[in-house]
Symmetry: C2
Subunit: 334 residues, 2 copies
Amino acid sequence: MMEETILLSHGSGGKMMHRLVNEIVNEYFSNPLLNKLNDFALCSAGETIAVSTDSFVVSPYFFPGGDIGKLAVCGTVNDVAVSGAEVKYLTVGFIIEEGLLMKDLRRICGSMKKSADEAGVIIVTGDTKVVEKGAADGIFINTTGIGIKKSNYLIGGEYVHPGDNVIVSGTIGDHGIAVMSLREGLSFQTTLESDCAPLNNMISEMLAICSGIRCMRDPTRGGVATTLNEIAQQSAVAITIYEEQLPINPQVQGACDLLGLDPLYVANEGKLLIFVDPEETEKVLAVLKKSPYGKNAALIGEVSTGEPIVSIKTFLGSHRIVDVLSGDQLPRIC
Amino acid sequence: MMEETILLSHGSGGKMMHRLVNEIVNEYFSNPLLNKLNDFALCSAGETIAVSTDSFVVSPYFFPGGDIGKLAVCGTVNDVAVSGAEVKYLTVGFIIEEGLLMKDLRRICGSMKKSADEAGVIIVTGDTKVVEKGAADGIFINTTGIGIKKSNYLIGGEYVHPGDNVIVSGTIGDHGIAVMSLREGLSFQTTLESDCAPLNNMISEMLAICSGIRCMRDPTRGGVATTLNEIAQQSAVAITIYEEQLPINPQVQGACDLLGLDPLYVANEGKLLIFVDPEETEKVLAVLKKSPYGKNAALIGEVSTGEPIVSIKTFLGSHRIVDVLSGDQLPRIC
């Protein structure tokens, strides 16, 4: 019988932690590599591996369409997948506040398992720490992902060319607004769900048939605007997007209008920005639209020579610069 | 000019975060893989890689002989190194409480760099989250380590044989007592320092000349007693240790007597338990004693057939079982 709440003792290295870890491993994460319960995992790998790490601190840790566990798996899977590598292994580190409900932890671990299964990745090693009440906020999760990069296909923020097209794989801002809808003092009615999803299978399908993809990136914290600015800087190119082509869920637009937010800066957790040779744009869009995670994909802009600035052509035909925000619209969204 | 304290905005994905990350990367972690600042790192690797992850929540985050940054690098380096792999890459995830002093963050990053340099590892990718005041406690750090395992030398908790000797690489309990000495309400005078250290180079020297090492493990949370119990379970063997052979710093013994603690359960962060074929014990001890981190190494016990129980032969000649504690003597020690 497991206790109903996490106690400090669950992080102590003693029997209670062993029992907790064993139960969690057996119930959710069992696989031959992890089950050895050494402090390390030996993973087969090719010549080049791709690695990414992310800590997740989203508040609240359950939200429409997902939870911190789903987010922790999908977020890191996506970060590895955009390298063009096949995502294979995950590590997981929990930091848990004393008093977390055991049923919440189980639910979170169940979400992790479900997303890991969908993505085809296994969790090969992990760590659990518990801190006293007030020293954390419920649960934080770090995941590190490892993928194997077989091809020499050069993909990354530094490979974008003038002339490339910019595609987004679906509606923007869904995750940020879904989480926001639960925040104290900001509650509003919505049926909106987070877009949180593992995108590695969709990415593999694209890479299997397209050779002109320069860069893929998931526009999470800081949203599409921030990610586009990062890439403009990395490749020293100008990027123009077209307001009328941006796919935005009406509920997201409505909430943004209400809250004074710009959906371009709102976080996504299941979307990709894709920079592609214009000759392959149609092919990429066709693959995306066949996936449940890409059905609203759209061509939203293009790359040109010039200062590394992102601008938007508005509904009115005017241009305005889309800069990076100094601070945050929405803290603890991932 | 960087601000003096961490603000929520430093975790937002906006300019302030970019500036912070760029400064930190340039000043402390610069290397060709990390400098690409993609969300992923491409790492050359052989056929088998070793991976380990750990989150560090030690309180206070500065302590005699180290800090949370040194700990985060050494702890994970050691966990990978005991696999017999050559430790190559680290990922780092920071969770920072709003209000952390920038000088503290710099000092912690400086420690990370120093330890990483000593260990010969590079930090290939990272992540920074900031949470509001009260939602964390200063700073938490996750590190994931990746090593390359070239030989087929089987090392792990499951490979211990009856007849093997048990070696500890130095005095036990130093880390736990050094951290404890600073805790509110428990302050006592000591010149004791944490043993926190990267052990991978010492391990490589052992493996280069010994072929009879079955298992190495760093006895961190739960101390020597807990680690021995884990290994007894994994290999289904009995382990006996000899009280009179345990190297214990008199200051640690004194503090334990004062506080009612047993040094066998106190955390270490720069020590190894080594299980070795008795024919190689002297060779291993000779290598250890030549290293600054192994100069107090000692043969402390042996393995036999029987129930997977750890027992100690006391100074008085009696035997007592050394069980795993149910909870924790010392929370947040690593």
